[in-house]
């Protein structure tokens, strides 16, 4: 027997024993998946005061508006001191977002005409958003520096400049959600293939 034949025989025997071994030992059953609880017990309960400290948003129904009130006259000096540099002396000049102005006939021509400015009076659907956004993010150089009274005052001033409330109107948590915004009924849910969820619940009157 040549060395070559011995080697071939050994390799063949090895192959056979491997095959036989595989046949004799069944593949181990897949172990069960690790159980996963509904809850892991990670994290800690939030205290009411820490929720209150962060829970700053104001909803379209006025939910979250703080106590207090102000009128347009209260807001004029604050606007001149803290807002006019970016938004213009009367809210129409820029250089940043134009805040004041109505669309002709309170129409909503923005898809047809890119020249019509999107202001609070022409494009913002909820007056409550004005309060929420100013308190949240303005002015950008000193964010979070305005008191709730300042924010009510600026909201009243901007709504007055947009002819949405009378100059002597008192803006507070009751009156602000009731301000009728010209753009209110022009927004539609996305008609494309995204989620179909009504933004606002239908509340019984």
């Amino acid at each position: 027997m040549s060395i070559r034949r011995v080697l071939i025989g050994l390799v063949a025997a090895g192959a056979c024993s491997l095959t036989a071994g595989q046949a004799q030992t069944p593949a181990p059953a897949k172990p069960p998946a690790a159980p996963q609880p509904e809850r892991f017990g990670i994290g800690r309960p939030a205290a009411p005061e820490e929720i209150a400290a962060l829970d700053i948003e104001v909803g379209p129904d006025g939910g979250g508006l703080p106590p207090g009130s102000a009128t347009s006259a209260d807001g004029a000096p604050i606007y001149a001191a803290k807002c006019a540099t970016c938004h213009g002396a009367t809210g129409k000049e820029g250089p940043n977002d134009r805040l004041v102005g109505r669309a002709p006939g309170d129409a909503f021509p923005f898809g047809r005409d890119p020249a019509v400015p999107k202001t609070i009076g022409s494009y913002w659907p909820y007056a409550t958003t004005v309060f929420d956004y100013i308190r949240r993010a303005m002015p950008p150089t000193t964010p979070g520096s305005l008191s709730d009274h300042d924010v009510y005052a600026l909201t009243a001033y901007l709504l007055t400049l947009n002819d949405l409330i009378s100059p002597d109107a008192i803006v507070d948590r009751e009156s602000l959600p009731k301000v009728k915004m010209p753009a209110r009924d022009h927004f539609i849910p996305d008609p494309r293939g995204g989620p179909k969820i009504a933004p606002m619940p239908v509340k019984p009157k």
């Binding site: 994290g43 820490e50 700053i56 909803g59 909503f108 898809g111 964010p143 539609i188 996305d190 969820i197």
Partner: protein
Amino acid sequence: MKVTRRTLLAGAAGTVVAGARARAQAPQVPADPTKVRGRPARALGERSPFEAPKRLPRSATGAFTPHQDLMGTITPSDLHFERHHGGVPDIDPKRYSLLVHGMVGRPMVFTLDDLKRFPQVSRICFLECSGNLNRTAPPETTPQQLAGQTSQSEWTGVMLSTIFKEVGVSPKATWFLAEGSDAAVLTRSVPVSKAFDDAMIAYGQNGEAIRPEQGYPARLLLPGWEGNTNVKWLRRIELSDHAFMTREETSKYTDPLANDTARMFSFVMDARSLITYPTYPVSVAKGWLEVRGIAWTGYGRITRVDVSTNGGKTWTAAKLQGPVLPKAHTRFRHFFQWDGSETIIMSRAVDETGYKQPMRGELFAQRGPGAANYHMNPVTGWIIQPDGKVVYKQEPWGPGGDPA
């Protein structure tokens, strides 16, 4: 600036200095690297000194990804586009916490370590600002300048559904507010259904902690949805039965239509493709040329990318680099032989819903001439000039180059 002899001279001197500096900074390497012992191991790697891809800051509030310099589909984390409304905050991860409250059984606070203890998941997906098109781009426009506000990472974190089960979200909750801890305290309303689909709270990006520009230490990640809803530096989630009508989802990020309405909550990013080579400022030579680019859709998988190398007269299906992942940049490539005559190359994506990326004209016909610069995803074209220079040109492409 009024041009005087002095400013001219100063300008010339500046050019000379810049040129000298560029020469001084040219990497010095040995003529034969096999004859010099190399540099020892080091703690932190860096790019070859010959490579210097950069984001392009558009203003203080955003910087764009250099698509023309990238390969494959993952965006290096330091080149991921950034966009923010109150600057990038510095946040100590030890002091970070996430509050989840509202219509839940158990209002809770989670530290970063808490979030990391939950079952961890990773996924690759694109993230695109919904305002990702330079509509008035001149011929000298790079892909970065045209559409540099989409990037892709492998994100790691915890499924939002895991957190929602932990706090016991009420079955009556339909929306949640996500709030960031940046100076804009940015807020968006998101349907709860997204949380039980594929939303995550991400704390990892491409194998390491998420970058500050992308929301360090933790952000909301809503695969396929407009970038603005993926709230960064996430500090609070409030469950509710209605949307909150924040400034970002009313006066911004809404899409006026020609019929005197505007779409709101237009979350999903439509299918799109972008050629990244050959594009301005490269020049090409006659002969075989590979058109390369990325395609993506917020609705699932890209199924096809068609490429035209003759201004839209004919289209050919490009090769897609697998694996093709859902809601992810997908690399496409198409070889063709350029004969040296002026032509226009363009690409159009098709996704698994059957949606086909529209021509610019179709898009404006649907949306109206006043369409806001959100969700603009037109087919874009590049002209290869007879001298080999490549420049951008938007529709209409003109005689001989009109879309089919």
